[in-house]
């Protein structure tokens, strides 16, 4: 007799299997949650004692074994905001072309292939490229500007992706109404489509911002340095940055064990910055979706 035939015992067994598998699937989701809670909880407990007003607002002292992380915070903020100034307009314009102008065909496929593959390039390869192209070829040196340009390319696919989503969610009727009133395509995009898509695009910008703030490998040859005694004031200045600071203190600092509290504190500041931006974007998006 077939094992799966519909007998009472067979049915009960099949439902037991299902219950068991539900447990396994649920468990795997819980493992993800546990990983996040574990990492954040650990850093919170270890890092909180290190954080104080002076930690956030002072320069490092005694060859980085004491003092604060102000230059790293500023460096990371300058890098992220600078990157957005370059990448956001480029990404939004690309998305507008892809979603509003492009017709299916070879060119569109090629552009999409380019974006997909750019998204897959490892960050250390972006670092190498930035070193060869911006730092060396353009002679920008290890500087804020080199870092911003490198990071802009790195984050471009993220911005394009989210901007396209936002454009897709603008109802077709908006465009038809505007065109029907005699507006040109550009007027329609500028006055109707973009304003309607802007909240979604800003969500994407925040996600991009957080991705850039946590990026390390792409800036280690292009913008970041172990230590600089000055706060960055110029695009030509090299900067300190939170992620790179963690890496340096944890692996190559003068006294790795002595600076542990500083490492925990820096890591906590970084994840609060990054996860805070993400959480904000997630909540904002949820609110947008509810409104729709």
């Amino acid at each position: 007799m077939n094992a799966n035939a519909i007998t009472h015992a067979g049915l009960a067994r099949r439902h037991r299997t299902q219950k068991l598998m539900w447990g396994v699937f649920g468990l795997s989701s819980l493992i993800n949650m546990a990983a996040l809670v574990l990492i954040c909880g650990f850093l919170l407990i270890k890092g909180l004692p290190a954080i104080s007003w002076s930690f956030l607002t002072e320069m490092p002292r005694d060859s980085m074994t004491a003092g604060g992380i102000l230059p790293c915070i500023l460096g990371t903020i300058y890098l992220s905001l600078g990157t957005m100034c370059v990448a956001f307009p480029l990404g939004v314009a690309s998305a507008v072309y892809l979603n509003e102008y492009a017709r299916p065909g070879r060119t569109l496929r090629l552009i999409r292939l380019g974006i997909n593959n750019l998204a897959g390039v490892p960050s250390v390869v972006f670092g190498l490229f930035g070193l060869a192209f911006f730092v060396t070829f353009f002679g920008l040196g290890v500087s804020l500007l080199s870092g911003i340009l490198t990071l802009s390319i790195l984050v471009l696919p993220v911005i394009i992706g989210t901007a396209e989503e936002a454009l897709k969610s603008v109802p077709q009727t908006y465009r038809e109404a505007s065109l029907g009133l005699g507006a040109t395509k550009w007027q329609t995009i500028r006055l109707v489509v973009l304003p309607a898509a802007m909240p979604g695009m800003l969500t994407g910008a925040i996600l991009g911002l957080s991705r850039v703030a946590g990026e390390t490998a792409a800036i280690m040859f292009t913008a970041a340095v172990f230590f600089t005694p000055y706060l960055p004031t110029h695009l030509n200045d090299s900067v300190m940055a939170l992620p790179y600071h963690i890496y340096v203190l944890a692996t190559a600092g003068t006294d790795i064990d002595k600076t542990r509290p500083l490492q925990y504190g820096t890591a906590l500041v970084l994840i609060i910055l990054v996860l805070g931006m993400n959480l904000g974007a997630i909540l904002y998006r949820a609110k947008l979706q509810k409104k729709r």
Partner: protein
Amino acid sequence: MALSRKAKDNLIRNLFFLTALSSIVALALIMVYLFVEGLPIFKVVSVTDFLFGHLWYPTSDPPAFGVFPLIMASLAVTALSSAIAIPLGVMTAIYLAEIASRKTRDIFKPIVELLAALPSVVIGFFGMVVVAPYLQETFDLATGLNLFNAAIMLAFMSVPTICSVSEDAIYSVPRELKEASLALGATHFETIAKVVLPASLSGISTAVMLGMSRAIGETMVVLMVAGGAAIIPTSIFSPVRPMPSSIAAEMAEAAFRGNHYHALFAIGIVLFLFTLAFNLVASHVAEKHKQVGAATL
């Protein structure tokens, strides 16, 4: 002279088109500059000696530029982390797409997104200060910074990718298929195992390829927790030096445009080609086996 409305509109369209090309231009420039800075190393070593040489002593005299141990380390780390991440990511995706209630999903989805957002340097740091001592003590090892540690940490970096792409694939399985299976008397689990998963297999394969591409190119985690020994791994607890960590660790000490510098760019080429292959396969699978309604099964 004012432009006519039509001319102005065309001009703007072309401007947008040019901007949209920036991604391709960037990708092309990346390739060009990797090759410009990487190819000179092949004046010193042959391509086969570079790829299959077993010794990586770039600063010795005479230096040895064999990246085989680095390639093997990258492949080993990627394979092991995929062995953890694929089941974890796919099962989480099934749970979120098929089983969880709306409320549970609203909690778990942001968690997966936040996991994806954790900076790699933080995950690497966690691996260094928590997982490494734990492994060292539990398994009585010389060092907790090894292949296994790196693989676990990388797994948690690729799970979100695998999970969200698979989830989309599972969602897009047409309802009719599931309903037909349920109507024939299959349980929900049997429907998932025998109908939903086979129907979304191409999407899941794409997810897996993207996850692996993320794992092989990830830098900070392997730089901080893989151990850094340029040897061919012999056990899952061997300290290793995958390609990205070699580049990141050695670039600072390599003389500008010296042999070592060129060799590191050449490793960059190898790494780039690996991820390019993963991504091309992923987009090929996604394109070729796109699920369009129930008819394509």
